[in-house]
Symmetry: C2
Subunit: 404 residues, 2 copies
């Protein structure tokens, strides 16, 4: 018989998952409750309220999808997209491609708008594309960890309303780590995951939606067979292609009706509840500043080491940094040594960036001076061993000067 | 700011979730690992191997779907069903209706074969229906907690092969609690959840599939955009309508290729790993016997109290028992009192059984003499308070005599 899991102590400085806040891990040991226990229903309500704070929204429907971040992306898209609908996806990295592919599977007519990796879209480019393509839905990432870029979103909601489109934002990589104003920016649906800036484990995906989105979803509502109440009527829109991701049903489950759907993932809800509590206790502004500072310190350190940063620095996310692998250095060998000998994980990359850059996260619980310091010191050691000329000690000095 | 969750100590004797084994809760506090960390990949491999033991199979593809039990049902159905396919669903409770509804959303032509609630199908009825309808897929529950019935399955796989149908079994309610022989019974795809007889929290769904199912799924394989390798070819079947539940992709993620898909829900994987370890450490036969004994004791106790059991006792599941609410007793008031004053949860019921029966679980960690005893004692107290004539002490005596 194999032993129980007993993971080594890693410092996870990749693009996520990162180390969970110990307080989050602690609540995960709490005893389970039945899904209709009044105490558990109260925790669900509290989770809704807490995530309203995190999403900066007053949306009634603020809930958890029981799966990883990708589950909420699919729940949003499959619940909003009716086969044949036009969907515009601004693609500035891998997670744009993902939304293209999910939207296609939902039967949408998709237009992918692409920009070079390492750049983002100018607002007028998006406005023009929306005006021309007239999509029902625009689906965009806020931050894309594959390129480390963050797309400015403050005007996009306005463009969408002017052109009668719904705006879905995938904030998996940014929620809790940089400013995201669901209501002020007129974002109709936003979803995320716990394992990035929220400092929790993957497996629960917060989602919020407003009344514009609700109207589309409720028109497609179909009650589960065997649960229909006398006289209850379904919507006249086409049935949502998924039962598990049917947001109309998930809303009924989260509402005071408490209509049975899935069995809420008890322990993951405890974790999500604690993640939001911790972020709000710190305060959103402080959390954003902490991420920005850690990022700035990391960038200063990498630059002092003589390494070159990847992508448009004006639009880099504050929680993940791309850095070119120096000429003559085997990027995967460096990562392996960092992991095996120093217990530090940094990220590799995908697609056109594969083998060209490393991605280093400074997010959630790990957006801390000591985590940045430790990572820079170990990277310096490993690169020096690989015969790269690195000014010893300069990286940490530069990073700490940001904190001073 | 709300406080961290701090759940009361409930004894969960409903149809699930039940109290998690403390050892499972304990591993959930373990530090996270990156999804491609060799140590984490090893835990995934171990989880596969452990669930092969639990499912009694040699299937290479034995993995976890990241969601609650329903997520794995949908993953199986959406990956197997191509629009227009014929699907036969023997319905003997609510979870049969659920499979009808999911299969319809997948675009299937569904035939629902119904039997009275509280009964199961004779093997020849199923054989005849398969011969006549010629489905591509038969989707059936092993046990349906809504009726407490378990459908005998030992011949069904054979009927399916004779008629060139694939057999999917939803073993959410039974895996680990009663015998289920994936290979010996020729079950092509089987899925479950942790929150019933496996003694874990909901949120991870073990699934196994054999080569017959794999062939159908691989024909529909479509690599995610942005991840396709040079020269790689997709299948010539229709694209699976879900990305999150695309089992071809999930297999690639679990394989040695480790092709990126979702981010495996780290902590839920730790939990699933521990659940399987615990069941196999006890031994399947012993676990089944423990469930059978707890059920027998509960039944003896309820009968000694003068209560009437629900449904065909020859086919009752050993982990959940339906019992009629006595005339003149308000079933929901009894449940509320049990919960609020005695910290014990028992189950209500759905559809045609609503208000007519309670459902009492004896599953997983709670399939224990003391849990049965405590439940019977409290129920006796509450019923006596409600002026029902109950022979005091008889229930526990009868239950304990089963253990003696």
């Amino acid at each position: 018989m194999v032993e129980s899991v007993n993971p080594p102590h890693r410092l996870l400085m990749g693009p996520g998952p990162i180390n969970a806040d110990p307080r989050v891990l602690r609540v995960m040991g709490a005893p389970l409750l039945g899904q209709f226990d009044p105490v558990f229903r109260e925790y669900m309500k509290q989770a809704s309220a807490l995530y309203r704070g995190v999403f900066q929204t007053r949306n009634r429907w603020t809930l958890l999808v029981d799966g990883t971040a990708r589950a909420a992306i699919e729940a949003a898209l499959v619940s909003l997209i009716e086969p044949g609908d036009r969907v515009l996806v601004p693609v500035f990295g891998r997670f744009g491609h993902l939304k293209v592919e999910i939207a296609k599977r939902c039967g949408a007519e998709v237009r992918a708008l692409e920009t070079g990796w390492g750049t983002v879209f100018a607002p007028e480019t998006l406005e023009k594309a929306i005006r021309e393509f007239k999509p029902k839905l625009v689906a965009v990432s806020h931050g894309d960890t594959s390129t480390t870029m963050a797309q400015p979103l403050s005007e996009l909601g306005h463009f969408c309303r002017d052109n009668d489109a719904i705006l879905y934002v995938d904030a998996t990589a940014t929620l809790g780590g940089m400013d995201l104003r669901t209501d002020a920016w007129q974002l109709d649906v936003v979803s995320a995951g716990l394992q990035k800036c929220l400092g929790g484990p993957p497996g629960s995906a917060p989602l919020t939606l407003n009344e514009r989105a609700e109207k589309i979803i409720q028109r497609r509502k179909h009650t589960e067979e065997g649960l229909r109440e006398m006289g209850q009527r379904d919507g006249d829109g086409p049935v949502i292609r998924s039962n598990y991701f049917d947001l109309a049903m998930i809303m009924d489950y989260w509402s005071d009706k408490a209509l049975n759907h899935h069995t809420e993932a008890t322990t993951m809800l405890y974790a999500a509840h604690e993640c939001a509590r911790i972020v709000l206790e710190e305060g959103l502004e402080k959390a954003f500043a902490r991420h920005a500072r850690a990022s700035k310190a990391l960038v200063a350190g990498l630059s002092a080491m003589g390494l070159k940063l990847y992508g448009d620095q004006a639009h880099k996310m504050p929680n993940v940094t791309g850095v070119y692998i120096p000429q003559g250095i085997d990027g995967e060998a460096v990562r392996r040594t960092l992991l095996e000998q120093h217990n530090i994980e940094i990220g590799t990359s995908f697609g056109p960036l594969r083998g060209r850059i490393w991605r280093i996260g400074t997010m959630g619980y790990n957006a801390r001076a000591d985590a940045v310091e430790q990572t820079l010191r170990a990277l310096e050691t490993v690169l020096s061993q690989q015969k790269l000329k690195v000014p010893r000690g300069a990286a940490v000095d530069a990073a700490l000067s940001v904190y001073r």
